[in-house]
């Protein structure tokens, strides 16, 4: 019983940290983006206010049960993804529920939230919602290819699928990182990360000029607030995952903050500097060079 209580506390702490970190990271990155554009930009805490405001909305509408549950699925997906990743190597508090499964679990649990959200968006009856979902899913299958290849290359390299062990194998100096021991896998993975974070040039889902905002077109009030919360957590989870996979993980929370910040910075810079692909261009892009790099990484492991 005591153990369960301790685990519950640890979980709460871990979630609290990642939520706040994710929100602040989002705010900071908005500032960074503003700087790129020569603006001052919004306050760092703007994400908090937006979420507060959305939850303070007096009215709301919903289109049906799945619409209602869509954001719940999405947030559950975000929380779950984070909870299945050991965030800080060797830390009891931040090991989360990583004993439930390995890398494959995390890779597939990412779909959980997306599926739920897609269903919620679908029930809104708005044609843009499924259009956005269709684009997003189509692109997702494409960027999963280099990512899958990259993960397979890493699994082959270390003969393990456990994230903890992958991190453990990278300890002991910067040159032990996958980024240096298996650079091709890192390159493929980091390109697919661009797709995963849905920024330009891969922002086909939201695509403000074409299908204004896509899936969450009908989402409002606390539904939207929930989606925003998830955005912070899910972002954090993805960053932690990529940090663990390619950049040696983190032995304490500060290293995690620095590393994930830099990874995120990379996507933001790309985002701020490119126009958008069309969906089919994006698919072809991911199945082109990044996939070839991934295959090269895998083939190197086979030789």
């Amino acid at each position: 019983m005591n153990e369960i209580m301790t685990k519950a506390w640890y979980t709460l702490i871990s979630l609290f940290v990642i939520t706040n970190y994710g929100l602040l990271l989002g705010g900071t990155m908005a500032r960074v983006r503003a700087k790129v554009q020569g603006r001052i930009g919004q306050p760092v805490w703007q994400p908090y206010i937006d979420i507060l405001k959305n939850n303070f909305k007096r009215t709301g509408i919903y289109h049906g049960v799945m619409f209602y549950l869509g954001p719940v699925f999405r947030l559950a997906g975000g929380l779950g993804t984070y909870l299945f990743i050991p965030a800080v190597y060797g830390s009891l508090v931040f090991s989360n529920f990583s004993f439930s499964g390995d890398l494959l679990l995390v890779m597939y649990f990412i779909f959980f939230g997306q599926l739920g959200m897609a269903l919620g968006a679908g029930q809104s009856g708005h044609p843009y919602s499924p259009l956005g979902v269709s684009r997003g899913l189509a692109q997702m299958t494409a960027f999963e290819v280099p990512f899958a290849l990259s993960v397979i290359a890493i699994a082959a390299q270390y003969q393990t699928l456990s994230i903890t062990e992958i991190v453990a194998a990278q300890q002991g100096g910067i040159l032990n990182w996958v980024a240096f021991t298996n650079p091709l896998a890192m390159v493929a993975g980091m390109i697919s990360f661009l797709g995963m974070s849905m920024g330009n040039p891969f922002s086909v889902v939201i695509a403000p000029q074409e299908i204004p905002i896509g899936p969450p077109t009908e989402m409002q009030s606390s539904f939207l607030g929930m989606l925003q919360t998830n955005r912070a957590i899910f972002n954090g989870a993805k960053l932690v995952l990529f940090m663990n996979l390619y950049f040696g993980g983190a032995t304490n929370i500060w290293i995690m903050v620095i590393k994930t910040f830099l990874i995120y910075l990379y996507t933001v810079i790309v985002d701020a500097s490119f126009p958008r692909f069309r969906t089919d261009q994006s698919i072809r892009f991911f199945l082109g060079t990044p996939a070839l790099i991934g295959i090269a990484a895998v083939v190197l492991q086979m030789l």
Binding site: A76, G80, A138, I152, R284, I295
Partner: protein, 1091 residues
């Protein structure tokens, strides 16, 4: 023993007296014919009782105190008796066919001619004297010319004359041959000649024998000198054609059979070649025919060619055939001949009854739709002719192929198999044409867009609700014509059952377990009886479910390991999936029985202990499932494809069974099993068959039947670990080093993953929901194949795990979708939408189903993904793993589309009143959900038994830590995942419920922000058509139907060959006569070269 002379005398006397009786009463005249013909069947039966069958006893009758050839010399033996029973039986049924037909065909002269024909053929069978044989041949031929001409059309007169010319040439040759033989041996008695065979062992003797043989061959219409024969079949009345094909040709063949002991090696080879060529080319020709009767005619010619081939080969490779049951080659002749006689005659009669002359192309046929009885008769006759179990031809085929392969005669075996395949193709094409529904376009290559299905015309309720009523109706229809095919069918079925019992039991009845293999047949008979006595359909299905459950309870506990897993899939899975059928109203004749037979024959695969038993069950499964596919509303094209591919696969298996454990066996067997599984390249039957079957039965094909191939792969796994390229191939070249070391499992692995990818990818662009699911099943089977091919503990566990879970979730999905289609009356997804409010339970099922299929945790699907990738990476198949991941991503796409376009989005006006699926359709869904939730919560419940099942084969590589399963690479705790997921799901849900507890309004379907406009129609607001257009744009080039195109090319090659051959037939008597002469000359020159 009745003297055979009475037989002859009776026929002769009746023929002479007939005009007198006919003048008094027409009915009496007809009855006399029936009685006399009945006696001709009864007398040989009496002989059979008197004779000692085991020793093939023969009794010789001389007449009038003289010896042959001055008198008639008759021999009555077991062979003769049996042949006479079937030949005279056929004649009797023919008489029944003509009976009371108030048309001019059935005039006194025809009755007399019929009796003289029977007289002739009886003489042919019984006669042992060459000159006698000639006489009888003339009698029967003359009767036949006249009979053909009695149809009294210009064509039939011409055909009669052609027949006469050909017969004349043949008689001349025969007579010359007889003269030579008499000159050389000094006797005309066959037995004496056989005794003095060495006298004929010179060029002159062989030539003399050749002349007789050529004459007989010409009478049997060999390719290519058979244009006149086909004309006869086309022009004559079907009843006459039935006589020609059955009675006359069979008797002449028997003559050939009788004189084969005289033949030397060279002559036998010529005869065999002639038979083989006739067989294969006639099938090609028949395939191209438009006219039903000409098609049947070519089929007859081909079948007789097969008989000739078998006899010749039997004499050539005698020792190979002696190992079989009894009578050696004679048994084959009897089985093939009898089977052909009854089934072909039956089909001729059917064509006469329905009045169907032209097949047209399948597309634009003038459809003559058979009623249920007619369809059943034609189905049975066609199956019998095509050699499906339990009909005699099946056993004959088995024996022939076994013997040929045992002897190493691969070419002949493959010719017989390919010919049979073509024959099955066109016969079933005709069958489908006759039974298909009027809305069926005949060719279903792909989903039909965008027209909706036209309403099917309302069927007239069947009158008469008792067996008596049915009999009365049969009698009423076409005044007795139905009795003939009915009797033929009955004979075939009875023989089939008898043979099945003989072959399968082989005298060993040690317990009820031995009977299990015969259960499907018993079921078919029993449920047919149910149909006849009009047991309500629901009761039939209910009984079927109970029987399946009983079968499972009785037989499955004896199994263990992998067999038990598949047993549960086949039997328990089927029992649950039969429940939706309870929803049906009205009568569905033959459905329940067929279904149960299919389930039992699937189950029997588990118990088959010999190659024959296995093949018997396999073929039974093929034919029963075919008859289930046929029932679909637009399924004829798909059904034909299914049949041809299944049969091709089965033949491949049949061939493969005899190559021991060589790579060739692995290849042939592998192809057979892969056809059943529908792997890429061999899959083109699959979408149509899955999709066009009735909605509530598709699930059997997808979730149960496809596993049969997988099961067999597991059983014969040892075959596939060997290297695919035989040692010594391309020896010494660089190719050798590249190719060596590639095992079949490597190929299977790639094939599996490519199938998984292709299935998912093709499902992506389908608007028709059932095609989507069909391709999805194909993809899933690809994963199973991939996992199987891994040949590791985790791989096999995963393959079995997938097989079990796929049964649950794909079964659920198919049943749920059938409920949707049942309610919405459409299969096109974009025509649905917003059904979640109308069908919430079905939605929930589909939701669980797609989560499970896509492998998203926490449901069971993830277990499969976890094991698959772990096993793949353990094995080092990295690229396959990546492609599998890509495929699973694509699966996610079509699954989302499936649930979105049907259940979410905009509800259409016409679906406003749709209600939840019927309760019977919900039950399997609930069972499936329960199963999935249970295994999701506690994966160890499934994993541990599977681990035990594969334990005998592999060293264990996984270990357990509580609920956590650990592999060498990673770990997975399904229970913990489930708890965490529930936790992270409930917390936000509670939060939302608190925050939103008031002032959250549920709005209507058009209350959307529509760029400040309002939607006007749900159809234009629902995004569903061409859902993944960008994907198509990016990767659409991948789904060009390459495999389909390849198979079309194969078909067109066959068709071109057919039409080229067809050019030989000008329809002109002189040309035909010339062909006969040329044919004889060519045979002769071949023979001389041989000598």
């Amino acid at each position: 023993m009745v003297s055979p002379l009475y037989l002859i005398a009776m026929l002769l006397g009746a023929a002479f007296l007939h005009p007198l009786i006919q003048n008094r009463s027409k009915l009496a005249g007809q009855l006399v014919v029936l009685v006399v013909l009945g006696a001709t069947v009864a007398i040989p039966l009496q002989w059979l009782m008197a004779l000692d069958i085991a020793t093939m006893q023969t009794v010789v009758f001389q007449t009038a105190g003289f010896t042959a050839p001055l008198s008639i010399n008759l021999q009555v033996g077991v062979e003769e008796s049996l042949f006479l029973v079937i030949i005279n039986g056929g004649a009797l049924f023919s008489a029944l066919y003509f009976f009371r037909r108030r048309t001019r065909e059935w005039e006194g002269s025809v009755q007399i001619l019929l009796m003289t024909l029977v007289l002739g053929v009886n003489g042919l069978v019984l006669g042992r004297d060459l000159f006698n044989l000639f006489v009888f041949m003339e009698i029967s031929s003359l009767s036949l010319y006249a009979l053909v001409a009695t149809t009294k059309t210009a064509n039939s007169y011409e055909a009669g004359i052609k027949l006469m010319v050909a017969g004349g040439i043949a008689s001349a040759l025969f007579l010359i041959g007889v003269v030579f033989l008499y000159r050389m041996t000094g006797t005309l008695n066959l037995d004496d000649m056989i005794a003095n065979k060495q006298l004929l062992d010179n060029k002159a003797g062989i030539t003399a024998l050749f002349l007789i043989t050529a004459s007989l061959l010409i009478e049997l219409k060999p390719f290519p000198a058979n244009g006149w024969g086909a004309d006869v079949y086309q022009a004559a009345d079907p009843g006459v054609s039935a006589l020609t094909s059955g009675t006359s040709a069979t008797a002449i063949f028997f003559v050939l059979y009788k004189i084969t002991p005289l033949f030397g090696f060279e002559l036998l080879q010529v005869v065999a070649a002639s038979g083989g060529i006739t067989f294969i080319f006639s099938q090609l020709l028949a395939y191209k025919q438009d006219s039903v009767r000409r098609m049947l005619g070519y089929s007859s010619i081909g079948q007789i060619g097969l008989l000739i081939l078998v006899v010749a080969l039997g004499s050539l490779y005698g020792e190979a055939f002696t190992t079989t049951m009894f009578g050696g080659i004679f048994l084959l002749v009897l089985l093939l001949g009898g089977n052909h006689l009854f089934s072909k005659a039956g089909l001729f009669w059917m064509s006469g009854i329905t009045g169907q002359h032209s097949l047209g192309t399948m597309r634009q046929s003038k459809t003559v739709r058979l009623g249920p009885v007619g369809a059943a008769l034609q189905g049975i006759l066609t199956s019998a002719l095509a050699g499906f179990p339990p009909f005699p031809a099946f056993w004959a085929k088995w024996i022939v192929i076994t013997a040929l392969l045992a002897f190493g005669s691969y070419w002949w075996a493959s010719i017989i198999l390919i010919g049979s395949l073509i024959e099955a193709a066109y016969l079933f094409k005709w069958f489908l044409n006759a039974v298909k529904s009027p809305v069926d376009p005949g060719t279903v290559h792909d989903e039909v867009i965008p027209e909706d299905f036209p309403e099917e015309p309302v069927k007239e309720p069947m009158a008469g609700a008792s067996p008596a009523g049915i009999v009365a109706r049969i009698a009423r229809q076409s005044s007795g014509g139905w009795i003939a095919p009915f009797m033929a069918t009955a004979v075939l079925v009875a023989c089939g059952m008898l043979l099945a019992t003989m072959f399968i039991l082989r005298g060993r009845i040690s317990g009820y377990r031995d009977m299990v293999l015969l259960l499907p047949l018993a079921v078919l008979v029993l449920w047919t009886v149910f149909d006849v006595i009009r047991v309500p359909f629901k009761l039939q299905i209910g009984l079927a479910i109970i029987c399946s459950a009983g079968y499972g309870l009785v037989f499955l506990p004896g199994l263990d390991g992998i067999r038990l897993v598949f047993g549960l899939i086949f039997i328990a899975g089927s029992a649950v999936q039969m429940v939706p059928l309870l929803n049906r109203r009205g009568h569905h004749r033959g459905l329940a029985g067929m279904l149960l037979a299919l389930v039992f024959s699937l189950g029997n695969l588990l118990f088959a202990s010999s190659a024959l038993e296995f093949f018997f069950s396999w073929e039974l499964m093929t034919i029963t499932s075919f008859f289930l596919v046929v029932r679909g509303r637009q399924a004829s094209g798909a059904a034909l494809r299914y049949l041809v591919f299944s049969l091709g696969g089965a033949f491949s298996i049949l061939a493969g069974l005899f190559f021991g454990s060589s790579p060739l066996a692995a290849l042939l067997l592998g192809i057979g099993f892969l056809v059943k599984m529908g792997t890429l390249g061999l899959h083109i039957w699959l979408p149509g068959a899955y999709a066009e079957t009735d909605d509530d039965m598709s699930t059997f094909f997808s979730s149960v039947t496809s596993k049969a191939g997988l099961f067999m792969l597991f059983l014969l796994a040892g075959l596939f670990v060997q290297e695919a390229i035989p040692a010594g191939f391309a020896a010494g070249t660089r190719l050798e080093s590249l190719l060596s070391g590639i095992a079949f499992t490597d190929l299977l692995g790639w094939l599996g993953v490519v199938t998984a990818f292709a299935g998912a990818f093709l499902a992506l662009f389908k608007e028709d929901i059932k095609y989507t699911l069909a391709y999805s099943s194909m993809g899933q089977v690809g994963y199973m194949l991939l996992s199987f091919a891994l040949m590791s503990q985790l791989g096999w566990m995963n393959s079995l795990y997938l097989a079990v879970t796929h049964l649950m979730f794909k079964g659920m999905l198919f049943v749920a979708i059938s409920g949707v289609v049942y309610r919405t009356k459409t299969r096109l997804m974009y025509q649905m939408g917003g059904l979640i409010t109308r069908m919430p339970i079905t939605f929930f099922t589909v939701l669980i189903g797609i989560i499970a299929v896509s492998g998203v945790p926490p449901l069971t699907g993830f277990g499969a993904k976890w094991m698959l990738y772990t096993a793949l990476i353990e094995k080092g198949w990295y690229l396959q793993a990546a492609l599998a991941m890509f495929a699973s991503g694509i699966a996610f796409l079509y699954l989302f589309r499936l649930i979105h376009v049907i259940f979410l989005g905009q509800l259409k006006d016409e679906h406003r009143t749709v209600t939840e699926a019927p309760i019977w359709m919900l039950i399997p869904q609930v069972v499936g959900i329960a199963g999935i939730m249970l295994y999701s919560m506690y994966p160890s419940l499934l994993l541990k038994p599977l681990e035990a099942a594969v334990a005998p084969f592999f060293e264990t590589t996984i270990s357990w830590d509580g609920y956590t399963v650990l592999s060498t690479l990673g770990y997975w705790n399904g229970t913990a995942v489930m708890y965490v997921t529930m936790g992270v799901f409930l917390v936000p849900l509670l939060w939302l419920l608190i925050v939103q507890r008031k002032n959250t309004q549920k709005v209507g379907q058009f209350n959307i922000v529509y760029a400040a406009e309002r939607p006007y129609r749900p159809e234009t607001t629902h995004f569903g058509y061409n859902f993944f257009a960008p994907y198509e744009k990016a990767l659409g080039f991948l789904h060009k139907p390459l495999a389909t195109r390849f198979w079309y090319r194969v078909v067109s090659v066959a068709e071109v060959a057919g039409s080229m051959v067809r050019k030989l037939y000008t329809g002109n008597i002189q040309t035909y006569a010339l062909w006969i002469v040329i044919y004889t000359s060519i045979l002769l020159s071949i023979l001389q070269r041989g000598m």
